[in-house]
Symmetry: C2
Subunit: 164 residues, 2 copies
């Protein structure tokens, strides 16, 4: 599969995928959320080749998603999620829940995410209004944003005098 970059497209989803959409990248981030920090642990848990792992970790460090810091307990380095990386948690959680529901099927979730405080499973992640109501795609209006291209304005419209 030829890699296609979307760099030139003015779309946040393409831009996000450009950074985290390569094979293995999101699984490495998932592992980091599971607490993995050492190269050898990423390698072992993912069953990934050293070459590919090195490539992906370098890119994640270059993008500021992982920080490469000295290992306090060894001679090597460890990889820690930055704020930019930690804010991918909702992306990972929604992918996991969708996979649990639509691919693994009921009762087959390999890993459960629990609220540490109560021990209960976390809620289904939903898109919500500012008032906290769940919103389905039909409840959403798209509007060209501040950084829109003329083609987006034509397509989605923008309300006059609106600023946020």
């Amino acid at each position: 599969m030829k890699k296609i970059t979307f760099d030139t497209r003015n779309c946040s989803v393409s831009q996000a995928l450009n950074v985290i959409g390569e094979w293995w990248t999101l699984l490495i981030i998932l592992e980091a959320f599971f607490g993995t920090r050492r190269f050898s642990d990423f390698e072992r848990h993912l069953g990934i080749s050293k070459n590919v792992l090195t490539d992906r970790l370098q890119k994640l460090v270059a993008q500021g998603i992982l920080a490469r810091v000295p290992d306090p307990g060894g001679k090597r380095h460890i990889y820690k999620l930055s704020d930019k990386g930690r804010e991918l948690f909702p992306v990972i959680a929604t992918l996991m829940q969708w996979g649990d529901n639509w691919i693994m099927g009921k009762g087959n979730a390999p890993v459960r995410l629990l609220d540490k405080k109560t021990g209960e499973p976390i809620a289904r992640v939903t898109v919500q209004s500012r008032q906290g109501h769940d919103l389905m795609p039909r409840d959403i209006l798209m509007e060209a944003g501040e950084g829109h291209l003329p083609e987006f304005r034509e397509r989605f419209g923008v309300r006059p005098g609106k600023s946020r």
Copy 2:
């Protein structure tokens, strides 16, 4: 970039990526959320080649994410999101918000998602407890689920007698 499949891994995130992780696939789904239904419109809006678009649409139909139905206003077909497809909305929304915040930067969002009822921007999508509190990665406990592999049990633990 060689395509690697994760079919054999017992992980919902890998399984989800196996279905929607190919280049273009999530952008096609994003377009479908924007209301695009015709082949020629996907082609035009995405600037994607006919061959690749055909391949991705076929796979999405085979996976039950898009339904291919006769175009009520023409001789061709249109592609509509199924329930399985619509439930990818939180995945798309979280990717968009992360891209808006961390790549495009403040004030550069190309598209805004608004609550149709109030006209206000939707809330930031967060992982929440059942009581509706935002949960950060540090607030989460991982536990081997019902469909876990022995290696997951060893790694994350599972509480005895726990069933949900």
